[in-house]
Symmetry: C2
Subunit: 241 residues, 2 copies
DNA sequence: ACAAAAGTGTTTGGAGTACACCCATGA
DNA sequence: TCATGGGTGTACTCCAAACACTTTTGT
């Protein structure tokens, strides 16, 4: 298929993909290396793409994640659209875009999605020249980012904080299938920037009908092994949440 | 300016404008009359427009509301974007669009905004052939609507319910400058589809530092006159909200 | 005088918060 | 045996919810 007909050159989708490594929140970013005169310019960008000509927004987000990571069945949620005309006026970004797409680019409105993924899921690096890596969310503030991707990440973070507050079962999208209550607590405290009381947290979690204790303990930890729990989606309806 | 250069034919903004008449939630819709063969086809649509070529999304929403109603300083909030390719495939909608814009229309992604306005603010009907009217939100479900505007209204309603829950001071965007606690309660109960206890509601409202009792009563009511209150925006910071 | 809505306090249950010690495991 | 984190119960506070009668005003 001819590139001319494949993409809609006015609308794109960008995905802010969050992960959790047990200590810190991470974001998935593409390396971007641009040859300029005699130097390489290097920065990072969100996984994203122009819409295909007859593609729905949600489908585009699913496609992007699948193309880049090989993963399917990822929690995805649209959170905001960005249409500042200046967002696609940096000559470096324009050149890069026109080079990638072989299209004349005027200005692009982008629709932001957040995704939550279990960081242990192996990301299948694809055979293009872009490298996809996890970065500490804290460090991202200090990185060079393409377009307005710093702003998109910030808004995505606020959105996911908000969502994790009103739908706490979304935490389980970020944890391994079997997890300890400590892991859940550290994740919770990291996201909401609080320090929960261990006993109160334990109490609250064990009251949730959708958190099920397993007959299984952690292994090979240099201290008393913690009990493992799992998330039971079908019990979600049993709670107010 | 030539139409060819004025609009971005791929992205639009639609506004779901809510009002409250003291009893019911209302939505602002444009009449749309289309001459077809020997009959007139009649339906309703949200106030909306294609983006201008170098216009930000928020600016487009502000422009649309100002063009249609003459109003400024309206509470506006982006809530969701709609990009189903089928949303602009109805031949009637395409013809109407191409007729209005004089542009070739392929498919349009639209960004939805909600607005809250005091229904008493006089809406200045403009000199085009479209009539703008308030409709009961309940009745809208049974009306013929252009494009996917029924879906957009539904999502907008959910968004505004959610927002009014976490930022209850937004209720004052819908009430007159001076209001009674009953008016606020009826609005609250309408939006959230509950029946609040009168005493508990009174207690809660009078505790809000940003709701100020006035030395003034209702007039010409066939029963005991209620005290009037006003909203004091600068006291917002004094509460947790 | 009557119809209609305004205004007002107390009690109860549940949820959140604060707080300190013993237990199990690997090194 | 020690270092590390796991696991547990009680008391207090605060907020939400339930509940009924008297007051004011226009007709």
């Amino acid at each position: 298929m001819n590139q001319e007909t494949k993409y809609n050159p006015y609308v794109s989708v960008d995905c802010v993909v969050f992960g959790f490594d047990g200590e810190k929140l991470k974001v998935l970013l593409n390396e971007r290396n641009i040859k300029e005169k005699h130097e390489w310019y290097n920065d990072k960008k969100l996984p994203g793409s122009l819409l295909l000509k007859d593609e729905d927004l949600d489908d585009a987000a699913i496609r992007i994640l699948n193309e880049r990571t090989g993963l399917k069945n990822i929690y995805l949620s649209q959170f905001h659209s960005f249409g500042n005309p200046q967002r696609t006026k940096n000559p470096r970004d324009i050149l890069w875009l026109e080079n990638m797409t072989k299209l004349k680019i005027e200005r692009i409105v982008t629709v932001g999605y957040v995704a939550l993924i279990k960081i242990k899921r192996k990301i299948q690096v694809l055979a293009d020249n872009t490298e996809l890596n996890w970065y500490d969310l804290k460090d991202v503030k200090r990185m060079r980012l393409a377009f307005d991707h710093a702003e998109i990440i910030q808004k995505g973070l606020e959105h996911i904080r908000h969502n994790l507050n009103i739908e706490p079962y979304l935490f389980f999208e970020l944890l391994p299938r079997k997890f300890t209550i400590s892991q859940l607590r550290i994740l919770h405290d990291t996201v909401h920037q609080v320090h929960s009381d261990v006993r109160n947290f334990q109490k609250k979690v064990t009251q949730m009908p959708y958190v099920i204790a397993l007959d299984e303990l952690e292994k090979k930890v240099p201290h008393r092994a913690a009990r493992l729990y799992k998330f039971e989606r079908k019990n979600l309806g049993m709670s107010k949440m």
